[in-house]
């Protein structure tokens, strides 16, 4: 069954990208971080803020900052003053949802130039930003049990492992790969040369999750400039096209779901693939940036994205298929496990990475061959949303 009514007629391109440093804690405010990334994206697109017709800002829970309606508060740093402005917010899925929202604004014909900014400053939240997630659980039947965010991820990882007989060594390899990839990323916060043993020797925080299988607390921002086809061709000699977008949410009764497989990611992926004309993802996708806030999530998401068979992603990883020089490079940026996880910004950082990879500008991070199409994906809320964007050179 078709997941979209018809293929949108107006094409949308990414013509500029920018980042701030990703840091454990920054002196810079959220507005300042957003400004760094946004101004850099405008600069690389060769335009100025006055050329921008509308702005999308993605930022995750207000509780991180202790500022209610922080989308409005961050407006100035995102360049949204006096313009149509939209906050895109679907938890961890926000970063990729921001470009989907911007895409809708341009594809609809409303605007020709849209600035998309994603910012997160987690370090303000004391004593630990995990506190912001204590209130995602049902107030009557879950919170009295004292759940925290680590519970649900360790529960999901364990279900994934039990369903397919996956070992923790296989999952630790994600941390090794991504932290290593991030050594070549100038924004990276937690890049490192580590071994599987180092990962498994780190403390168990919530078995089967070890400390080095969890992405860090981060402050940072990312931004891209979107343009309509006509404007993109005028402003850029190498626009990168948004070929397809998709998103999907599963039930909030998460105890009623199959935690071993993210079917909502599959649905979001097929929506984006259909729009992009992708029928055989494993052949037609050349570089992937799946969401990796926890080590197992990259594998889980590669399966949801149809880039590995169910339960087989760990084996593919072990034989090098997802290395930067492998058959399907996955998280060549270094991902959230290596570059860092300022939540909304981390998702948009993945779009920035595809932009550079597909323009073959990625330098020390460049994947070999001539990648023509990539997919980026983010995930969040109560383990229930998949946001997917397919980008390509034509």
């Amino acid at each position: 069954m078709s997941l979209i009514k018809r293929k949108p007629q107006r094409r949308v391109a990414v013509i500029g990208a920018g980042l701030s440093l990703f840091m454990r804690r920054a002196l810079d405010t959220g507005k300042e971080l957003a400004y760094y990334a946004a101004s850099q994206a405008l600069q690389t697109a060769g335009i100025r803020l006055k050329d921008i017709q509308a702005v999308v800002m993605a930022t995750a829970p207000d509780a991180f900052d202790g500022v209610h309606m922080k989308g409005e508060w961050l407006l100035d740093g995102a360049g949204g003053v006096g313009k149509p402005y939209l906050r895109a917010y679907v938890g961890g899925g926000s970063g990729v949802f921001s470009i989907i929202s911007g895409w809708m604004m341009v594809a609809s014909g409303l605007f020709d130039l849209v600035l998309v900014v994603a910012e997160e400053k987690m370090s303000s939240c004391q004593p630990h930003p995990q506190g912001a997630f204590l209130t995602i659980f049902d107030h009557t039947i879950e919170r009295p049990l004292g759940p925290n965010l680590l519970w649900i991820f360790s529960l999901e990882q364990q279900r994934y492992m039990a369903a397919y007989g996956i070992r923790n060594e296989d999952i630790a390899l994600v941390s090794v790969k991504n932290k290593h990839n991030a050594l070549a990323h100038p924004a990276a916060q937690v890049a490192a040369h580590l071994t599987v043993k180092d990962i498994l020797d780190s403390d168990v925080v919530a078995w089967p999750v070890h400390r080095l299988m969890v992405s860090p607390i981060s402050d940072g921002a990312a931004a891209v400039v979107l343009a309509s086809e006509q404007v993109a061709r005028r402003l850029s000699d190498r626009p990168i096209w948004i070929q397809g977008v998709g998103w999907c949410l599963d039930t909030s009764y998460w105890g009623n779901r199959d935690l071993a497989y993210p079917r909502y990611v599959e649905k979001a992926a097929w929506m984006a693939y259909e729009m992009a004309g992708v029928t055989e993802p494993r052949k037609q996708i050349h570089v992937a940036e799946p969401y990796d806030p926890f080590a197992y999530k990259e594998l889980h998401h590669l399966e949801g994205l149809q880039l590995a068979d169910r339960g087989q992603a760990p084996e593919d990883l072990a034989r090098g298929r997802f290395d930067r020089t492998g058959e399907l490079p996955s998280c060549p940026s270094g991902g959230l496990m290596g570059v860092g996880n300022p939540i909304a910004a981390a998702g948009l950082m993945k779009i920035c990475e595809l932009f550079w990879q597909l323009r073959r500008e990625a330098g020390a991070r460049q994947v070999p061959g001539n990648p023509e199409r990539g997919v980026a994906q983010a995930w969040g809320d109560l383990m229930q949303i998949g946001t997917v964007a397919v980008l390509g050179v034509r």
Partner: protein, 193 residues
């Protein structure tokens, strides 16, 4: 005001974005002491209504019963109960008293609090599939009645697929809450489904 440690912006990094990235990382000492930061402790209280369906579920727990609801259109029996089927978007058709036994769908052994303080005795959260529901339907609870504190000791007694039974608070102490079930404990022999 802060003594900012300007990060040495490396001259032209060998990878994109090829420009010095902005940002001023702070170390712990700077964050705790020298930075002009302010703090605020929120004080808010909420009085939540349990809702039509969960109220009845909680009443059941007080009586030592676990309720589910059934939708005749999709044929699902689910718990926690809900007033309407979220798939068929119609009222649920009947209330069903489930057993107080089930199966561990997945579990974890958590050694930290939410603010990353170590726990001497780990918590064992689990998704428990409740007997009498449709396949793979359950809810979050805790596993108890397990000896030992290490991963090895606990994994010897707890595994995915293990039959478990609710351990209830004494009737006089129940208050119509999810915590009227203290935890689920492993059972050797399970009743027929």
């Amino acid at each position: 005001m802060a003594r900012t440690r300007a990060k040495p912006a490396t001259a032209r990094a060998p990878a994109p974005p090829y420009v010095p990235l902005r940002g001023h990382p702070l170390n712990e000492e700077e964050f705790r002491g020298q930075v002009g930061s302010t703090t605020w402790v929120p004080r808010l209280e909420y009085a939540w209504d349990a809702g039509v369906a969960i109220s009845r579920f909680l009443d059941g727990l007080r009586e030592g019963k676990i309720y589910g609801v059934r939708c005749r259109r999709c044929g699902r029996t689910v718990t926690p109960p809900r007033a309407f089927c979220e798939l068929d978007f119609k009222p649920m058709d009947e209330w069903i008293e489930l057993r107080d036994t089930g199966t561990i769908n997945t579990f974890s052994i958590c050694y930290v609090t939410w603010d990353m303080k170590p726990l001497r005795v780990p918590q064992i959260p689990a998704v428990i599939e409740i007997d009498g529901t449709s396949p793979r339907v359950g809810f979050l609870h805790l596993v108890g009645g397990v000896r030992g504190r290490t991963v090895t000791e606990i994994r010897r007694q707890v595994r995915v697929g293990l039959p478990v039974r609710a351990v209830w608070k004494p009737p006089a102490k129940r208050e119509g809450a999810i915590t009227d079930i203290l935890h689920f404990e492993p059972v050797r022999k399970r009743a027929n489904r």
